[in-house]
């Protein structure tokens, strides 16, 4: 059964069409890159999957259910912008997640925080931008979810932090769950992905496995992306 499925999904904002007739499905155990230039519809798609937007037409389901209360319990979402409450300390944030999500693995979160030497009593407000992003990723990945939706998890952090974030995603790999990573920093994520979905101006232009692309085209996904989306 697909973890995430879109059937003829269309989303319009007034006269602007953000997604048009998008169909694809993502199976459990897959780490999928949602790749496209700025404004291609990546964030719209992720917001639809979280029920933050409703489709204009077509449908999107998560484990056969429309986004709603049941799916929130099985989807772990990392928004594009830091959205964790800044006044909290790291410990308070873990308490908060533990109260909110049944699937929260507190020991996993504590272990990752300790590994990065992030003081549990420090307020998130006092942390650097990169540290905040790490903390938010840690709580997101510490849920035993069915679907992880990571919107630009590596934008705006240094290369070492990028490596840490990617190895956290690999280290938390679960064959029952799927991970969707939206990004335009393809070279950095390519090796971590099973599959890629290229999205351009609201259309899915390609869904393929990373090694299929390399085998058939003799080039990396990054190189193919540059070719497809040449300005």
């Amino acid at each position: 059964m697909a973890v995430l499925e879109c059937k003829n999904l269309t989303k319009q904002y007034g006269h602007v069409t953000a997604l048009e007739d998008v169909s694809f499905s993502i199976e459990p155990g897959r780490i999928v890159g949602l790749l496209g230039p700025n404004g291609s519809g990546k964030t719209t798609l992720i917001k639809l999957a979280n029920g933050l937007l409703t489709p204009t037409s077509g449908e999107l389901t998560i484990c056969n259910a429309a986004p709603g209360k049941e799916t929130h319990a099985i989807v772990s979402y990392l928004p594009e912008r830091t959205s964790i409450p800044l006044w909290m300390t790291a410990t308070q944030l873990l308490d908060f997640y533990q109260d909110f999500y049944k699937d929260f693995r507190r020991d996993a979160a504590e272990e990752m925080l300790a590994h990065l030497n992030i003081p549990a009593k420090q307020r998130i407000k006092q942390m650097s931008k990169g540290t905040r992003e790490k903390v938010q990723l840690i709580v997101t990945m510490s849920r035993a979810a069915q679907l992880y939706l990571l919107d630009e998890p590596i934008g705006g952090v240094d290369p070492a932090t990028r490596d840490y974030i990617l190895s956290t995603i690999i280290g938390n790999y679960n064959p029952e769950a799927a991970v969707v990573i939206s990004t335009h920093l393809i070279a950095d994520v390519e090796k971590v992905l099973d599959e890629v979905i290229f999205i351009n101006q609201g259309h899915v232009v390609l869904q393929s496995s990373v090694d299929e692309i390399r085998e058939e085209k003799g080039m990396s996904v990054d190189a193919l992306f540059r070719e497809v989306f040449k300005c």
Binding site: K191, D211, G218
Partner: protein, 130 residues
């Protein structure tokens, strides 16, 4: 182990090659248990399914084998490891000869150049040994 990746070849194929090098050089000694797929995937920074695919192929070739509960091991068959070493060497030589062809060298020229170069190596090796 350090992992390197190029842009053109499939990632699983690059993993297979590097694991083979690891086995041939003794980084993964014969009969030894291999780290888990997850640990190796994390170390190499690759997708766990891709690492799994590489191991499935190495297993099919007989270079590694799994034991249901104990994990995955390097073969104890030293002849096979020796053959793998030779195959890797042949691969390098083929690539080298192709590059020399491109540069327009004839085979006998290549051989005399190699002899010259390895001769030099011998001299410097001797020198440093003193």
């Amino acid at each position: 182990m350090k992992w390197y990746f190029s842009d053109s070849a499939p990632i699983y194929a690059q993993l297979i090659r590097q694991i083979k090098v690891g086995i041939v050089t003794g980084a993964f000694p014969p009969g030894e248990r291999l780290p888990s797929v997850r640990d190796l995937a994390t170390e190499a920074g690759v997708n766990p399914n891709t690492m799994q695919r590489a191991f499935a192929e190495l297993e099919r070739d007989g270079l590694v084998y799994s034991q249901r509960t104990a994990g995955r091991f390097v073969t104890e068959d030293r002849t096979m490891i020796e053959q793998t070493k030779k195959a890797l060497a042949e691969c390098h030589i083929k690539q080298f000869l192709e590059s020399m062809d491109q540069l327009g060298f004839q085979r006998d020229e290549v051989i005399s150049l190699l002899r010259q170069e390895t001769g030099k190596e011998g001299v410097t090796d001797g020198g440093s040994g003193m």
